[in-house]
């Protein structure tokens, strides 16, 4: 049946018929839909009956104490970890559990890791070039030429992340904050529908944090952004909608004010945090 389906989809047979925009079906609202997801590592449930819905164009912050399952959740969405049970849908057409990492990436889910990983031997420009959404098979990559269009796109992203002046420098010499921005720029080059950003401001200065907040809020609307962050001040400055994870499931969801007044949240996370401070 699925074979018949794939044969009758002409846009899949003839590459040129494939629509330019990512074929993600968001007519029903959510771009990411996780239902009853459970992951257990040798009996330990890192994720326990997690239900999470992200709307198209939304900027969502996810907070939670260490071990709440934030990184595991990202791993599931990007195909790195397979859940023990549950379902994960991207739009209402793509079942992410049937896809591998490169397929998910080319579908339009970009991930920024906690530790910035850029290609240090390559220049800032080349880092963005490699990240660009393009035909990534071997021969098209071998024969790829630099066109004005590609250059314009790279220049545009360089402008957004504020690294235009450093375009020819090897990425290895960038500061920590600049590497984080370059990595966000690399995600933008892929024209993702959904951006997963893991602790973007860890180790940043106050100024760099502000710049990052601007960058992320500027992206929302054009694409959906999910930010996992520990820094509450930063979350407060960008968040419209906050989800609190605890022991692998959703503890609370709502605006920052709602969440920070929720007694359960205060108990497990904010309260504990305050005690530490006190």
């Amino acid at each position: 049946m699925s074979l018949l389906h794939s044969l009758t989809q002409r846009d899949r047979v003839f590459d040129f018929m494939a629509p330019q925009a990512s074929p993600v079906d968001v007519r029903h609202g959510p771009i990411l839909y996780m239902e009853d997801v459970t992951v257990s590592f040798d009996g330990f449930k890192a994720i326990n009956n997690l239900n999470l819905t992200i709307d198209d164009g939304e900027l969502r912050c996810i907070i939670g104490p260490n071990g709440a399952g934030k990184t595991t959740m990202m791993d599931i969405i990007t195909g790195k970890t397979r859940p023990t049970s549950g379902s994960v849908w991207f739009g209402s057409r793509h079942n992410l559990l049937n896809m591998n990492e490169p397929d998910i990436a080319s579908l339009g889910i970009g991930r920024k890791f906690q530790k910035p990983t850029v290609f240090e031997a390559l220049s800032v420009f080349e880092n963005l070039e490699l990240a660009m959404a393009a035909d990534k098979r071997i021969f098209p990559t071998l024969t790829a030429r630099m066109t004005g269009e590609i250059k314009d796109r790279i220049d545009e992203v360089l402008e957004t992340i504020g690294l235009t002046a450093l375009r020819h420098q090897p990425a290895g010499i960038l500061s920590h904050g600049q590497k984080q921005w370059l990595e966000i720029g690399m995600l933008l080059m892929q024209r993702p529908r959904l951006l997963l950003v893991d602790e973007p401001v860890a180790g940043m200065t106050e100024q760099e944090m502000e710049r990052t907040a601007e960058l992320l809020t500027g992206l929302a609307g054009k694409q959906s952004v999910v930010v996992v962050e520990h820094d509450m001040g930063f979350v407060r400055s960008i968040a419209r909608q906050v989800t609190v994870l605890h022991q692998g499931s959703v503890l609370a969801e709502g605006s920052m004010d709602q969440v920070s007044n929720d007694p359960k949240v205060i108990e497990v996370y904010l309260g504990a945090d305050d005690e530490e401070v006190a």
């Binding site: 490169p102 990534k136 630099m146």
Partner: protein, 391 residues
């Protein structure tokens, strides 16, 4: 590098020609080929500047080693795969050429058999094994020079890269591969001449291998093959695929997340490299007149890596310099004091690692940068952006 990336609007195979380093390399190579030819042909043997047939032959051998080193640098320098088994691809290319040369001997062998090579007659075989069929035709044998090592690399690489075997584990497996092949080729039953290998060659495409003209021709052909192989490798490393390779070398998982099927890129570059190594082996065999299982020995494969490290990894021209330097030193040392050679090789490697971590090519880079800094300091009107842009 980034400047060439932005201006890389031309066809990928011709891109190296607009690079200064490739222009210099090709210029030096052509000049060296021309010089040796003139000193060999025009200058009379009585003149001390005359280059004898023996030396021409020796240079030809160095050039085939240089091509092999370029192939290793392509996978090690740019893809980060430390292959300790490239000698296997070199030897297989060499055996393909050797089989053709054996079939060319025909009835002139010691036993005078019209079809079977001497060692098969000696083993009382009555017909050719199936895999020797077709090697009497030059086009088939020459195609096999590329196809046989390429196929081995394809199967081996497919299994290794699909299982995400990388780093030191891959190095060990490549070493095991060449060792296993060596043991197999030592066996008479394999049909490749066992211990003695293939030798006693006479003609290549009708030219007598013992004549000086053929030797000069082989030397020049090897030089041309080195030039073409170099251009191909440069074209690959300056393409977007080359940058994906470097990205794979430095952060494999990250490259995969960008949507590149890393294992296919690794496989592609590995196969290209194996085919170049096979070509080098095929040019080597008629010049030394023998191919035997010692080319499969793990030590030889490690030596190739030393050439590249000595010349400077990830530069390609460094590999050429390293291969020629080490082998020239080897020729001298094994002539003067044969027992000291391995010590000399070890000492060279230690000295280069300590004092020139980027190899001989790193020294060039250093001198170039110092010269540029000097001119920039001495000339207050120098364009300040030029230094930054090319850094």
């Amino acid at each position: 590098m980034s400047l060439t990336t932005e201006s890389s609007t031309n066809f990928w195979l011709t891109r190296p020609f607009s690079e200064r380093s490739t222009q210099i390399f090709l210029g030096v190579l052509l000049a060296a080929l021309a010089l040796v030819t003139i000193l060999h042909v025009v200058v009379p043997p009585s003149n001390p500047l005359h280059v004898g047939a023996y030396t021409v032959n020796l240079f030809g051998k160095y050039l085939s080693y240089a091509l092999l080193a370029v192939a290793v640098d392509l996978v090690w320098g740019y893809l980060g795969i430390l292959s300790l088994g490239h000698g296997a691809f070199f030897a297989i290319g060499g055996y393909a050429m050797g089989m053709y040369l054996m079939r060319q001997i025909g009835e002139r062998g010691t036993y005078g058999h019209p079809v079977l090579p001497d060692f098969m007659v000696f083993l009382n075989w009555d017909s050719l094994p199936w895999y020797w069929l077709g090697f009497d035709m030059a086009w088939f044998a020459f195609a096999m020079v590329l196809i046989a090592p390429g196929l081995l690399a394809l199967v081996f690489g497919f299994l290794a890269f699909r299982s995400r075997v990388t780093g030191v584990y891959l190095s060990i497996i490549t070493q095991a591969l060449t060792f296993a092949l060596m043991l197999a080729f030592f066996r008479n039953e394999m049909g490749f001449g066992g211990n003695n290998g293939l030798t006693d060659f006479r003609e290549l495409l009708g030219y007598n291998l013992r004549s000086n003209d053929t030797r000069l021709g082989l030397f020049l052909a090897t030089g041309v093959a080195l030039g073409l192989g170099y251009i191909l490798c440069r074209a690959i490393v300056t393409s977007k695929l080359g940058r994906v390779s470097i990205a794979t070398r430095d952060a494999e998982a990250r490259t995969r997340f960008l949507g590149y099927r890393v294992e296919r890129f690794q496989l592609f570059v590995f196969v290209v490299s194996a085919m170049l190594a096979g070509l080098a082996g095929a040019l080597y065999v008629p010049q030394v007149g023998i191919i035997n299982p010692s080319e499969f020995s793990p030590i030889f494969s490690i030596e190739i890596v030393l050439w590249v490290a000595l010349g400077g990894r990830a530069t390609l021209y460094g590999a050429v310099i390293g291969a020629i330097l080490v082998n020239y030193a080897k020729t001298i040392f094994t002539g003067v004091m044969p027992d000291a050679w391995l010590f000399a090789l070890g000492a060279m490697f230690v000295l280069v690692t300590v004092f020139l971590p980027k190899g001989v090519a790193g020294l060039f880079h250093y001198l170039k940068r110092r010269k540029r800094d000097d001119t920039a300091n001495n000339d207050p009107n120098a364009d300040p952006t030029s230094k930054e842009a090319s850094a």
